[in-house]
Amino acid sequence: MTPPTVYEPERWSRRALGPIFGLACLVATSSGVVVLSILLGAVVAAVVKGSPGGSAFAMLRHLMSSFQSVDPELAGFKAGLAGSLWLLGLVTVFAIPVGVGAAVFLEEYAPPGRLRRIVQLNIANLAGVPSIVYGILGLALFVRAFGMKRMALGPTLWAGGLTLGLLILPVIVIATQEALRTVPGSLRQAAMALGASRWQVVRDHVLPSAMPGILTGVILALSRAIGETAPLLMVGAAGAILRLPRGPSSRYTALPVEIYNYAKEPDPRFQGVAAGGILLLLALLLTMNATAIVIRNRYARSSRG
């Protein structure tokens, strides 16, 4: 008597399921591309519609060089663009050193244990906190300083930059930690075995090796900061500002805040203005991402060579 066969290879379904899965993945990928094309198309169409007579480029130029106005023909984003660039600079200065520093400490210095796990868990949780909550925090902490008038920064660029800095800090910490973890332990050991101090190992080997990953994370985080509207509304980005910020203690407005303000105007001609603002914001984001790619490639090449 022959024993019953244990193997029942379902060859047909196996062969069919592979391509089906591949196709599903392809659909998932193209859905992103399709959505992006629709978004760009819609925005560009709105801009073209909103710029009768003139070309879209002329309209963008006009939007970049004029302040806010109740007249859609005159309205623009000059103050918001300047405010967003200021915020970008301030956030870069606050969040990158602190975030990268915290990640280096957690990965390279902190002894493993309960305390490190608790800190780690909290950072991961902070990364998921809604941005409006950071806005309330920024309002209480930076704008009003819990009622201590001397310490309060008021609704200035300082307060906005610090709030956005706090918002993206956990993202930078986590991205940097991920990048540091990809640096092989053998590299650290090789350097330590030559009599290098921990700081020398981190400075000359770990950070340069992790730099492409760190830069990617940092640029993604900065892009998020640039696009945030809700926390800036909380910490007092102004609705109507008719001059450029003179320094970090000036009042300000930001590009997404202005887009929001224009978009809720009842006059339909403002829709074209808002769409133009979105194009400007997208252009800013794409420039940042392109810069990141260039820097990353340069780093990757120099660490190989």
Partner: protein
């Protein structure tokens, strides 16, 4: 003489006769967390000789090697008991800086791990961070020549160290170690990732280097231990004597290499080298 005087004595004044010892372990035991890795190791590593550590997997050869330059300090939960002296100085003494110790006791790893930098920078980096003030070009050339790599790389010093072959990478790692002028070189299975020709070159190099350096090499390859070493320590796992079933590394026998392989005193050594265990 009070202990503090002995400890404060400069290392250079230690006696260095021809057959002196450079590293000594005295009842050394090492734990990783609660589990013991090495038990009661007492051996003397001779100066300007090649000492091989052989034995089956997991018997603590690498642990012993990494104790010598305190690389085990980097592993959380590792701790040691007993004493290791280097040139007569207790390496665990509070005034000994492990960073400074590691310059004087260099290490070559199992898998070649050059820095992702140029060949020149691979050699120069260790010297620079240790405050080398002399002519760097000269030091790089001397180190590469000493590691028998100069002729192969002299025309491409600015190319990445990662572009070299495995055997060349390992010699680059040796050159990098030589550039910080250590007294001892610890080698953790340096040839296990290399082909036979590269292995032969590294072995020739070791033989050449022992005039100036003391070498300790961990190897799984008993023929290699036999070919290159002067002294051999055969390590074993102890019998299940410590209750919890965890077995600990011990030194079964430590003898001149030719004697250990031809006339082993310890039956476990004999069983290992004849291939009955391990």
């Amino acid at each position: 003489m009070p202990i503090s005087d002995i400890l404060a004595r400069p290392v250079e004044s230690a006696p260095t006769p021809a057959e002196s010892t450079v590293l000594t372990t005295n009842h050394l035991s090492v734990w990783y967390g609660a589990s013991p890795a090495l038990k009661d190791i007492t051996i003397d590593i001779p100066r300007n000789r090649i000492t091989a550590l052989i034995g089956p997997s997991g018997c603590g050869k690498s642990t012993l090697l990494r104790s010598f330059n305190r690389m085990n300090d980097l592993i959380p939960g590792a701790r040691m008991e007993g004493q290791i002296t280097f040139d007569g100085q207790d390496i665990a003494a509070p005034e000994v800086d492990p960073v400074a110790l590691r310059r004087r006791i260099g290490m070559v790893f199992q898998k070649p791990n050059p820095f992702p930098k140029s060949i020149y920078q691979n050699v120069a980096w260790g010297a620079r961070i240790n405050g080398y003030k002399g002519d760097m070009d000269d030091l790089v050339e001397r180190s590469l020549r000493r590691a028998a790599l100069w002729d192969e790389v002299k025309s491409k010093l600015n190319r990445s160290g990662l572009e070299l072959s495995g055997g060349q990478q390992q010699r680059l790692c040796i050159a990098r170690t030589l550039a910080v002028e250590p007294e001892v070189i610890l080698m953790d299975e340096p040839c296990s990732a290399l082909d036979p020709i590269s292995t032969a070159r590294v072995e020739d190099l070791m033989d050449d280097l022992k005039a100036d350096y003391s070498i300790v090499i961990v190897t799984h390859n008993m023929q290699q231990a036999r070919r290159v070493s002067d002294m051999t320590a055969c390590m074993m796992l102890d019998d299940l004597s410590n209750g919890n079933g965890h077995r600990t590394g011990i030194v079964a026998e430590f003898s001149p290499t030719d004697r250990l392989f031809t006339n082993p005193k310890d039956p476990r050594t004999e069983a290992y080298i004849t291939g009955r265990i391990g």
